[in-house]
Assembly symmetry: C2
């Protein structure tokens, strides 16, 4: 049996990727996780492919210092805009949210309509639609950007708050009228609004949580490459953010279900100082 | 009579500062303006004082290449968090939004209650309250962060949109019950919601538009320092943004009342390459 003690690296534009961490820790409790949240430059959703790709490349280089067994891009926007370009550039396996989310949607749709809910940038990239149509070119796909969902979740509003329910109804009315078979929650923040979205769309719609689909894909990858940890203890979770450690720690409870204490602030400008002495990943490897 | 042809430099975290540009161009049509919008790192509102100060310092250094007659910090968050620290560091006069906004509020309040509406970071800094109390320590001040107002405005929603009206009512109910004499729109995006805010609060409340107050302070400064331009032609407006020139150009119409065509993308990472050869500001001065 394999026993690979290297950590899984998880990257997100901010807090939302903690929904992927939560799913990973449920599924793979013995794995250690290094998390990086780019809270100085969040959100990525309204930004260009060029900027998001540059940010993602910098963060990959930072995460390689930890000698990870894989890098999980938990941010749907970065998965859609940067992963296709970067996946061949680095020696480590990279898993984004788009492929697992698209595969789960294609499987669940049984040929029926799939609606993608995501950020403006993810929608504009068409990556979800293209990925679903690689599985089955005959699945009809519609897409809807929901720009207020991220700030609504980050503000910590309750699911039953009237403004949350109005925003859900306003964004989803045109989607609901098309009677989709499957709706993809194509942003890591959106599972936090699963309750009101499910209620508004009705019971017959299958909701695909890309955080859950992504964690399943990570398990499959580690299994296939014999890279699972067989540690029976709970793995460590170490978090790095580019700004506002306190805000991250206090909001993380909502996303993760428990409080994070190990949060270190490091800004992208400081990544360069880590690179300068060109240390081998081995030497910088942290004990997790 | 003075005839200073140097441009006014205006900086904002994104688009919102264009409300200040609009006010400046109405008041001082012969002045040329260099605008920088940090659209790669927008919004500043939920970020730390340390990050906002670092971003602002970088952008000041960039703007100095244009040999400006003054730098206007149109972003309320940067005015509150960074200007107090940076104002002595640079040889050029710096005008933020907080001092002019606070002065206008103190003058209008006649001792009555002043309510500050702003981003989380501006509220946390207490800069508006402190500035108002320097004018008159007996003016009572309350503060309310309205985190969704910025994404609502950036999404381009109409003033009569039901979600806009619900957000205004939800954020301002507790403020309205206190019957304020003056309400400060302490974020450059908020004047775009002036209609529904005024309607909700009622006619007796004086709304202070910090963009208007700031442009008045700029006129005063240029007059006092004999730095006005006496050009009878309309001044140029050149815009630089750190990301997404197209999104900036299309949304700018809403903020400025006309379309911007001269938008150049330059990211903060590229500022450094401008600094390297240490050119004198004079040589890099653009013809405006």
């Amino acid at each position: 049996m394999s026993n690979d003690q290297r950590p899984i690296a998880v990257f997100d534009s901010g807090l939302g990727g903690l929904t992927v961490v939560r799913a990973l820790r449920r599924r793979l409790p013995g794995e250690s996780v290094i998390y990086f949240g780019d809270t100085a430059r969040v959100p990525y959703g309204p930004k260009s492919a060029e900027a998001v790709t540059r940010f993602t490349r910098e963060i990959f280089q930072f995460l390689l210092h930890f000698d990870p067994k894989c890098i999980v891009v938990a941010c749907n926007t970065a998965s859609a805009l940067a992963v296709p370009e970067l996946v061949g550039e680095f020696a480590v396996p990279v898993i984004g949210t788009v492929e697992p989310g698209a595969a789960a949607a294609a499987k669940a749709s049984e040929g029926g309509l799939v609606a993608i809910l995501a950020t403006e940038a993810t929608i504009a990239s068409n990556q979800y639609r293209n990925a679903i149509n690689r599985y089955n070119p005959r699945i009809p796909v519609v897409q809807k950007a929901c720009p207020l969902f991220v700030p609504i979740v980050e503000e910590g509003r309750e699911e039953r708050n009237p403004l949350v329910r109005m925003a859900v109804a306003e964004y989803l009315e045109a989607v609901r009228r098309l009677r989709p078979a499957v709706v993809v929650l194509g942003c890591t923040h959106y599972p936090m609004l699963r309750g009101p979205i499910a209620e508004y769309l009705g019971e017959s719609v299958v909701l695909v949580d890309t955080a859950e689909a992504t964690s399943e894909a990570v398990e499959q990858l580690l299994h296939d490459s014999s890279s699972l940890s067989n540690d029976s203890n709970r793995g460590r979770l170490l978090c790095y953010v580019s700004d506002n450690t306190q805000r991250f720690a206090s909001l993380s409870t909502r996303f993760l279900g428990h409080t994070i204490t190990d949060v270190v602030r490091i800004c992208p400008e400081e990544f360069a100082t880590l690179h300068q002495p060109a240390p081998t990943p081995r030497r910088l490897r942290v004990s997790v």
